[in-house]
Symmetry: C2
Subunit: 420 residues, 2 copies
């Protein structure tokens, strides 16, 4: 389809009629497809079943004692070592938790609100706390801010990361700017990978607030779709040379490596932060689920083996991303009003349909295909241009995807033709 702006009103009316007919037919098929969230498919979940099958045979006795018993608040040594290898840091810079990295991030913010960061003033006692939110971004980051009444400052997300001119300006001039959310690799939802320059500029920020923290949510660190995986610069290598040695919290989990929400999640940060956090965590927990950690260490083994496992995931995901790309290109290759990302990893494709995202999502829902609510990828749900839609192609089968894309393409065309 070429630009709808070039069509005459009559042509547009004719095409709209045609699409409405197609829409009716699609609706009649009564097929339901859910593309709202970045969930692994059943086929992907099967990949980790050997971990459960062999769970009875693993050795639960570690150097530190019996992993089935109390102790080791920071997680078992071998799990810390595994994540240290993945994060490319030292194992005393890692804490391994239960399954949810969202829970880690929430707790880090709550600790800061209640107790302050490394001896700083508790954020609860400040008149205002602000976070920088590159957008489009991950809705669950934004909802943590909303939950704590943290003001969100939207910063445009570009192909090589957030708009760093703006970030530098905000961070260095305003002491109430205390945090920044980042999904630095295969960003949710655009799939962007932060460039080396962007990572370096973040590492070298000059925050007005001493307790400014970067939440480096590396959720898709090993989630490339192709063999030649994108390489993200190790931010700790850079911060260690600066005053920002304690500035970064890096997060990851095995939710999309083993089981979603039933894996293990981990934090990498400075040894000073680790020590401080363990003091705070003491009051909260005796230890994480170490039996699950033993299972994960035995199954995942090391970085090379994780890569091997992730290539199995990629083999399942790749055709779905490629089908979406091909079909969108066929339908809107020449159309200025429709743009989308072509990520080489992660769980999302970011689609921009100029000023009609809400209408497209509503139409698709009417025909049985659910997308995340339009606006979700922006702080306060405020997508001023009403353009962005997050597409999660992981769960549906290829056949379901085909139907879902029929609906999506048709919905977009209707929404565009309707506009006058």
């Amino acid at each position: 389809m070429s630009n709808y702006g070039e069509l005459t009103p009559v042509q547009r009316e004719e095409l709209l009629c045609e699409e409405l007919k197609t829409f009716k037919k699609l609706k009649k098929k009564c097929i339901s497809v859910d593309m709202t969230r970045g969930r692994p498919s059943k086929e992907q979940l099967e990949i980790a079943m050997p971990m459960l099958k062999e769970a009875g045979g693993y050795n639960y006795i570690t150097e530190a004692g019996d992993a089935r018993n109390y102790g080791e608040l920071a997680g078992i040594k071998s799990a810390r070592e595994l994540f240290a290898e993945l994060f490319e840091v030292k194992s005393d810079e890692v804490i391994v938790f239960d399954g949810s990295s969202l829970d880690i991030m929430y707790n880090l913010v709550q600790f800061a609100m209640q107790f302050g960061v490394l001896g700083g003033v508790p954020w609860n006692k400040l008149e205002k706390v602000k976070f920088i939110c590159p957008a489009p971004g991950y809705d669950r980051h934004f909802s943590i801010c909303e939950n704590f009444g943290i003001e969100m400052i939207t910063v445009p997300m570009k192909e090589d990361g957030p708009d760093m001119n703006l970030v530098e300006l905000l961070v260095s001039n305003d002491e109430s700017v205390k945090g920044m959310w980042c999904v630095p690799k295969y960003s949710n939802p655009t799939g962007a990978v932060y460039s080396d320059k962007t990572v370096a500029r973040i590492a070298n920020l000059k925050p007005a607030a001493k307790d400014f923290r970067v939440f480096w949510d590396n959720a898709y660190m090993v989630h490339g779709l192709y063999a030649n995986d994108d390489k993200l610069k190790n931010i700790f290598d850079l911060t260690k040379k600066t005053d920002n040695a304690n500035m970064v919290y890096e997060l990851a989990s095995t939710s999309k490596i083993t089981f979603a929400g039933s894996g293990v999640a981990a934090l990498a940060t400075s040894a000073e932060n680790v020590a401080d956090l363990l003091k705070k965590m003491f009051f909260k927990q005796i230890n994480p689920n170490k039996v699950n950690q033993v299972m994960h260490v035995n199954f995942l083994k090391n970085k090379d083996n994780v890569k091997r496992i992730m290539s199995l995931h990629a083999d399942i995901l790749r055709p779905k991303f490629e089908l979406l790309e091909t079909r969108l290109k066929d339908a809107f290759g020449d159309c200025q009003e429709v743009k989308w990302s072509t990520p080489k990893g992660g769980y999302f494709v970011s689609l921009d349909v100029k000023e009609c995202a809400k209408r497209v999502v509503a139409l698709a829902a009417e025909a049985g295909v659910k997308f995340t609510a339009a606006g979700s990828t922006y702080p306060y749900m405020q997508d001023d241009s009403d353009s962005n839609i997050r597409i999660a192609p992981s769960v549906p089968s290829l056949a379901e995807m085909d139907f879902a894309i029929d609906v999506l393409v048709c919905a977009i065309k209707i929404a565009l033709f309707e506009k006058r």
Copy 2:
């Protein structure tokens, strides 16, 4: 040993000399025994190994979908039903979490501090928050209070529960009294079981604070040592008839049923509280480890089977408790200065050695036997009479126990003879 007060100074000196010789001999054996914490023994941990051996064969597809995938913040239905049966409540009054009940309690307090309880004023905004702490009690309850700057009011723990006259007075007259810790069955450390009358008096409290909450930490709900298990009155049956329908948070975990800190933990409370908590938890987590919940439901099955499993634990624990009882009786049966509890369940024996607990614990440590620091069972570590020692007999073997008791008996005698 009869009362040391009845001995002449010379007799006392002679006996002290003798005990010091014995102490020297015990010390020379260089045996280390740790009786500090209520941990299951290796033998007990083996009981749950079939759960891991069969993990690969369990059905992870539930009514609500695939338990290996995201969703079900409140835990899987079958796990909620299992805990509902154990708690004797409805399943919509239960949330099943990851492994740590300490974590649940901490989060409940943190939610109240940050956001308030059921629309009430956040406790952070109040000048003072106080909790009632029956003592001797569980040190980790007290440390949560210390962490949040909550003032602890010590209330004597009696054989049928806390001193209720005092509790009623405190709760009904002071709006800043917001909470109360209880281990109602096989209390930590005395082993006391709250009488029906005590439970009824708690259920019928008239708190000045609308957001007063009872933390009913039923950690030892199925942890009897004998077939004729003590029966604790169901507090919810009583609160439902009063204005206190939302007053109680009941906690439990499988830390001493399956794996310590690697099991599942659960909360029972009113459906109104459950709904409110799920709204708060939404920002924190997508779901608990549901794979682990499926494993636990398949292994634990139902209340009768849990009882069967717990009888296996009791068979291992009982001889240790009985050995301690017999040996203490032999040594101090007639001695007014040494008293101890004879619990019919739980994980602890509470020992009172008049005004010399610190000395006894220090002497025992010198001879290789570690007990929890004297004072730990009191808020702010303040055991004014320096008498209480918590003994955890679960981990050592019977032979190690025998040595540990030799040391304990000798240490007590030395401490008593030294006193003038």
